[in-house]
């Protein structure tokens, strides 16, 4: 058990945190999968519109690595496939059948399961469709099954501006979680690490055996698994570690025990725009419109994931595989008359140049407005203030812009937790995150 304290970072005080207690959501009629959410995966579709699929049946695979398949989170009819520019598949929708057809796999008792070999476990994960839940550091891509990671990290923490409480999500799943930990232990030659926030350790983790437990405190991104890994096993040349979400770890236990792709999920809806900002017992790939039908899509942005890291989705599109919450954020697409000159009692800023600085931790209305025009980069030093990864974000960003990727590597491209803070605070409104992520893709291309 070790305890880490992060010094740098920033807690954006936002309104609309999800509240317990958890409720059961109605059964969704339709779920949606987004093939674009998997970094560096070129999807090749394995189903057609109108086709009936079983829950757990592959929907698409990676063009380059055929064994990496993403499966249907529900049984029913593929009712719609949306394509974007250059015929890239954006969303696959499934109308959930009353009686869902399900792909059945072999089942094992916990004792049998613990006797499985590494190769068997890998195969079960690939077959069942749980493999894509694993990601690799550096660069957060789905790992190569052939490789053996130095360690595996389980993330059970979230302290972004609209945090998700893992204690709620893992309640009652202690045994599956433990089985997951034990199976993951066979995939690595090192240890399994479980990362939580100090003071809110879910029961499943405090009881867990056979894993290193770490607690973290400090401002965001102290609860972000990529940042936590950086503190425990920072990236160095040749090091590869894997990580996954705690709910996925329990799912690994469940799939081995029950032989079916686990579709149940605890999902939160949060944000100022949410009407029902709470926790739901529901299923994978459910849409925001289903959980919170009263939140208006006209005046809100639906984000799969957190407000600093998530992906904008349409209200009928499903929650991403790696996400456990929807953030519903009011759109800020209206001009504000002489806004930059006003005292700004309600303007949220880490600088203290608005009157709101008198109550710095008070949550304020915050919408998607950029807050100003895009300007040239000015080295104000604020990026270094918020970056918890000992990166100089300004230099990293510039190295990617001039495509000096060797320089990007030495400036810590692989360390970046993609927490979004440098983008959030930038007074020049530069898309640091997008630029850095371009650098990552360029790096992956070279690596491939």
């Amino acid at each position: 058990m070790s305890d880490y304290r992060m010094k740098r970072g920033y807690d954006v005080p936002m309104l609309g945190r999800a509240e317990g207690p958890i409720v059961d959501a109605a059964r969704p009629k339709r779920v949606g999968v987004r093939p674009t959410e998997f970094r560096f995966v070129k999807p090749k579709l394995m189903v057609k519109e109108g086709e009936t699929v079983s829950a757990g049946q592959p929907l698409f695979r990676d063009r380059k690595r055929a064994e990496i398949r993403v499966v249907a989170p529900a049984g029913g009819v593929v009712s719609e496939i949306r394509f974007g520019r250059r015929k890239v598949c954006q969303e696959i929708f499934i109308d959930v059948a009353e009686q869902e057809p399900v792909v059945e796999h072999s089942t094992y008792s916990p004792d049998e399961a613990r006797q499985l070999t590494r190769a068997q476990i890998v195969e079960i994960l690939l077959d069942s469709g749980l493999w894509p839940s694993l990601r690799r550091r550096p660069f957060s891509v789905i790992p190569d099954p052939e490789r053996v990671p130095e360690a595996i990290f389980i993330g059970a923490a979230d302290n972004d501006p609209l945090p998700f409480d893992y204690s709620i999500a893992l309640a009652g799943r202690e045994e599956d979680f433990q089985l997951g930990v034990d199976l993951l232990g066979k995939l690595t030659e090192g240890k399994v690490h479980a990362c939580t926030l100090k003071g809110s350790v879910p029961g499943a983790i405090s009881q867990a055996r056979n894993c290193e437990k770490h607690t973290f405190s400090g401002p965001y991104p102290a609860g972000k698994i990529e940042a936590q890994i950086h503190y425990v096993l920072p990236h160095k040349k040749g090091r590869e570690v894997w990580y996954l979400d705690a709910q996925d770890c329990a799912d690994i236990g469940e799939v081995v025990r029950a032989g079916r792709y686990p579709v149940a999920r605890v999902v939160a809806v949060a944000g100022e725009g949410a009407v029902r900002a709470q926790y739901f017992r529901t299923r994978r790939a459910v849409s925001a419109a289903h959980l919170d039908p009263d939140a208006s899509p006209a005046s809100n942005r639906f984000v799969s994931g957190g407000p600093l890291t998530g992906v904008r989705v349409s209200s009928d599109c499903g929650l991403g595989l790696y996400d456990c919450k929807f953030s519903v954020i009011p759109e800020g697409d209206h001009p504000e008359f002489v806004g930059w000159m006003l005292p700004g009692f309600h303007k949220l800023s880490r600088y203290r140049a608005y009157a709101s600085a008198m109550m710095p931790t008070k949550a304020q209305h915050l919408d998607t407005n950029l807050g100003g025009g895009v300007r040239a980069h000015v080295a104000t030093g604020i990026y270094e203030d918020v970056c918890g990864m000992d990166i100089l974000p300004g230099y990293l960003m510039k190295s990617v812009l001039v495509e000096d990727f060797e320089e990007s590597d030495s400036l810590g491209l692989a360390d970046c937790a993609e927490c979004g803070l440098c983008t959030h605070v930038c007074p020049s409104k530069i898309e640091f995150g997008e630029i850095i992520s371009k650098g990552i893709v360029a790096h992956l291309r070279e690596e491939a």
């Binding site: 942005r301 001009p335 303007k347 600088y351 998607t368 895009v374 230099y395």
Partner: protein, 394 residues
Amino acid sequence: MRLDFEETRDLWKKFEALRPHFQKGGKFEKLYPLFEAKETFLFVPPHTAKGRVHVRDAMDIKRLMSTVVVALIPCILWGMWNVGYQKLLAQGDPTPLLACLGHGAWHMLPIILVSYLVGGICEVTFAIVRKHEINEGFLVTGMLFPLVCPPTLPLWMVAGGIAFGTIIGKEVFGGTGMNILNPALTARAFVFFAYPAHMSGDAVWSAAGPDAVTGATPLAVAAAAHGPGVVTALGAQGITYRDSFLGLIPGSMGEVSALACLIGALILVGTGVGAWRIMISMIAGGLAGGFLMNASAGATSAGIMHLPPHWHLVLGGFAFGTVYMATDPVSAAATHTGKLIYGFLTGVLAVLIRAVNPAYPEGVMLAILFMNVFAPLIDHFVVQSNVKRRLARV
């Protein structure tokens, strides 16, 4: 408070209706930066976040730069009063508050106006030619430059100086964010070297005219004095530490009062806009430089060598340079550690220049310009140590 009522929306719509004329293919396509500037001046635009970071800090460059201008207000007001005060004093007239302000404004406002006008025209012209947005940085540059000039500077030199500063100091490097030198200081250096008679000597600091009895600036007095009795020599000219701190001495328009600069510093640091690392380390550097000189001064060395370190902080442009000039985020060192080194060296250098070259006692501005050139190098070493830390991981 949010000004978001019907009328402002109508105004926005009227503006937007004009947009096509300024966009590609429109009649005034070339003038798009002007349109953008006007629109973003009146409104925070309705642009929303595009990438994965959906909520953004309310701070923008416009607010950042205007905060600096706000932090300059104490210096502007004090300078205005002091220009009038020194003038009336030299003429032997009474010095009521309003008269001082009035006389000060009479000399100062035209210089500020010309600086803004010419600087603005340069900025807009380059924005149009280069097709980029008008950068609000010129709001700061256009105000900084007049404040470091003597009140007697002819307007055409003001115009020439600011044009030089904007074009050579900034635009030839590729515009805001790319420039190495502080544009306002470049402007000042240009005027100083091109027209030294108007920027130095005893006569230029008072707006009283050539015939009035004008006092020498404290730095000139200190440079002219000999031996350890420099403070007495200053006192003989009626210059006390208190007066120098408050700014009751002749000097450049905006930089005489260390007190006003201190208030400005509080605003800048309090709002998080100014780099406290540079301010603190530069003061430390100035004091260190002062001690160094005291230690090496002999009985007959120039008085300035004997000047107690804390005097350096309140004389000439040291305080103003520390608070407003050295902290310019574009030309200063960008890394945290780099800022500490850069500030310290600037402080030491400023004091050394004062001493080594008594003919040019105002070393601060030169020191900052000099260190502007070295800032990228300092940053380079800081970045390299960051890279090494990463490589050293085991």
